[in-house]
């Protein structure tokens, strides 16, 4: 099929719109001037300033810790929840349960943040890394469970039953049969939870205390006053990490796809 001029134009303009702002940001992060919008010459000095700014490094460390803990916890809880929803058949309060899985996905972040903060104050929990982890786990597990349950629905349950018939314990059947099959969904669930946590400003702002500042909170308070060259440099680093991650992930999935295709071809 050949593309008409109209379609080519809309693709070009559409992707220019999606990518130009970020490309400009990356280019101007190498601008020497403090006046961000005036180009005076190439320089990497803002990267140097950024990396010697202890407050940013601390915030990055806190963010990373929160993201690793909350996404791992969310993956375990979300997979259990997906399992309960798809395989759990009937249990009391099932409607409430599935409602609680889907509601956080559409709940505005300001409300999730506010309600969790009021809970933490109510039970007298000190706000800091722990409370952000609890908050992030709660909304991320819902995303994980949606991703994992779509995979659980589509896979053939008789495989699991066969393993049980052949004398596997339920745990072995899960570990040896179900888990390898749903693994891609579990991994993408973890990645999604990890990115959501890295990215979250609103919920973290509500649930954190003076002891823990995450990177988005730091960025937000810096850019509120206007564009800043250090933030441009930081954004460029974050964009680079994501781009690299996506390229690696797509190479891996391509290799797996090719291998699967060869496997299918070999069997015939």
């Amino acid at each position: 099929m050949r593309l008409s001029w109209f379609n080519i134009t809309s693709l070009t303009l559409g992707f220019a719109f999606l990518y130009l702002p970020m490309i400009i940001l990356v280019i101007y992060s190498f601008n020497e001037s403090r006046l961000v919008t005036v180009w005076t010459g190439f320089s990497t000095k803002w990267y140097g300033e950024l990396l010697s700014n202890q407050a940013f490094l601390d915030a990055a460390w806190v963010t990373l810790k929160v993201a690793v803990f909350s996404s791992t916890l969310a993956t375990v809880l979300g997979t259990l929840a997906a399992y309960a929803l798809v395989r759990g058949a009937r249990f009391p309060g099932r409607t409430l349960f599935s409602g609680m899985i889907y509601a956080p996905l559409v709940m505005p972040e300001v409300i999730t943040g506010l309600s969790l903060l009021l809970l933490f104050i109510g039970i007298g929990l000190d706000r800091g890394v722990l409370t952000i982890v609890l908050a992030h786990t709660t909304f991320a597990m819902c995303y994980v469970s949606v991703v994992v349950s779509s995979r659980l629905v589509s896979f053939d349950q008789s495989l699991e039953e066969a393993a049980l018939d052949l004398g596997c314990s339920p745990w072995d059947a899960f570990r040896l049969v179900t888990l390898p099959i749903i693994a891609p969904a579990v991994i993408s669930g973890w990645l999604l939870a990890f990115t959501l946590s890295l990215d979250d400003l609103v919920i973290a702002s509500f649930t954190t205390g003076p002891s823990a500042t995450t990177l988005p909170i730091k960025i937000f308070s810096a850019v509120r006053l206007g564009v800043s060259p250090e933030i441009n440099a930081l954004s460029t680093l974050m964009i680079a990490v994501v781009t690299l991650g996506v390229i690696i992930a797509s190479l891996i999935s391509k290799r797996n796809f090719v291998r699967e295709q060869q496997g299918v071809a070999g069997r015939h």
Binding site: M1, I8, I24, G88, M100, V110, I111, T137
Partner: protein, 293 residues
């Protein structure tokens, strides 16, 4: 025993960290603001019992929301901004989704990745990137002044226009993907048949392509409209002090005015407003699933 464990762990987690917190918001929205720690009354105590506790709750904060016009203006303006930007996102996203569905097969994976990639980059950074473009000495004004299109810099940042741009930019993948999915399934021979039977291209588009991609359009619109309604980051970075949105009002009520009961009441009303589009969205999805199976 094991089955109980699988269900109970996530269930209890969500009860404790989703449902109970929301019940607390509801309770505080019915309380009075007070110079206390935490800054609201009544506090529940076992000595006084439930009766005394419940009798102190009232709807004062909700009546306050209706008397001070800041709040209903903020709700209306959020609805208007969400509706306008949903429409803009549709107008810009549809041609992109359409072109993607028409593209040669070997491009598809790459095009899809290009649409999804921004999802994985920080939302905050994507919004921030527009501050440098739209400000008065920003790149857009530099370009337009340089080309001689305008003689005075345009004021875009800190207006509603900047908020529209920010919303369209960050939410457009949510519009493109469901429409693309609908158009991708569309059988192109239907359009060829219509053209053979004498339809003009434009007419075939309106009579066949648009109705058959209706579910994608509806899904995309809800996916943009629902999260935009409670948006906080975009109006506070791009909208300036003049743009009222309810997410921002809630934030300021809580952090700046420290009025927890009113902030909670604002949250409860926002949830009530959101229930309508969410239920409509659910129905649409269900219909779509039934149609497919």
């Amino acid at each position: 025993m094991r089955r109980v464990f699988i269900i109970a762990v996530p269930y209890l987690w969500l009860l404790a960290l989703f449902l109970i917190p929301f019940a607390i918001v509801l309770k505080i929205s019915l309380s009075d603001v007070a110079m206390a720690r935490p800054p609201y009354l009544p506090q529940f105590s076992w000595e006084a019992g439930w009766g005394a506790f419940l009798s102190q709750l009232d709807f004062e904060n909700f009546t306050f929301l209706t008397t001070d016009d800041l709040y209903w203006k903020a709700y209306l303006s959020s609805l208007q901004i969400a509706a306008t930007s949903t429409l803009l996102t549709l107008l810009i996203g549809y041609p992109i989704a359409y072109a993607m569905a028409r593209a040669p097969d070997e491009w598809r994976a790459t095009l899809m990745m290009l649409v999804i990639l921004p999802f994985w980059t920080s939302f905050l950074i994507r919004v921030y990137s527009w501050m440098g473009i739209l400000s008065q000495e920003g790149y857009l004004n530099q370009l337009l002044l340089g080309l001689g299109v305008i003689s005075e810099p345009l004021i875009i940042l800190n207006t509603k226009v900047a908020v529209y741009i920010g919303i369209v930019y960050t939410y457009i993948p949510f519009m493109i993907l469901p429409i693309y999915a609908a158009l991708h399934r569309l059988d192109s021979s239907l359009i060829e048949a219509a053209e053979d039977l004498g339809c003009s291209r434009a007419k075939a588009f309106w009579l066949i392509t648009v109705p058959l991609s209706r579910n994608g359009i509806i899904a995309g619109c809800f996916l943009v409209f629902i999260p935009t309604l409670g948006e906080f980051v975009i109006p506070s970075l791009l909208g300036g002090s003049g743009t009222l949105m309810i997410g921002k009002v809630l934030w300021e009520e809580f952090f700046n005015n420290r009025d927890w009961p009113v902030a909670s009441a604002v949250a409860v009303v926002l949830v009530l407003i959101l229930i309508i589009p969410i239920v409509l969205f659910q129905q649409n999805q269900q219909k779509q699933n039934e149609a497919q199976s």
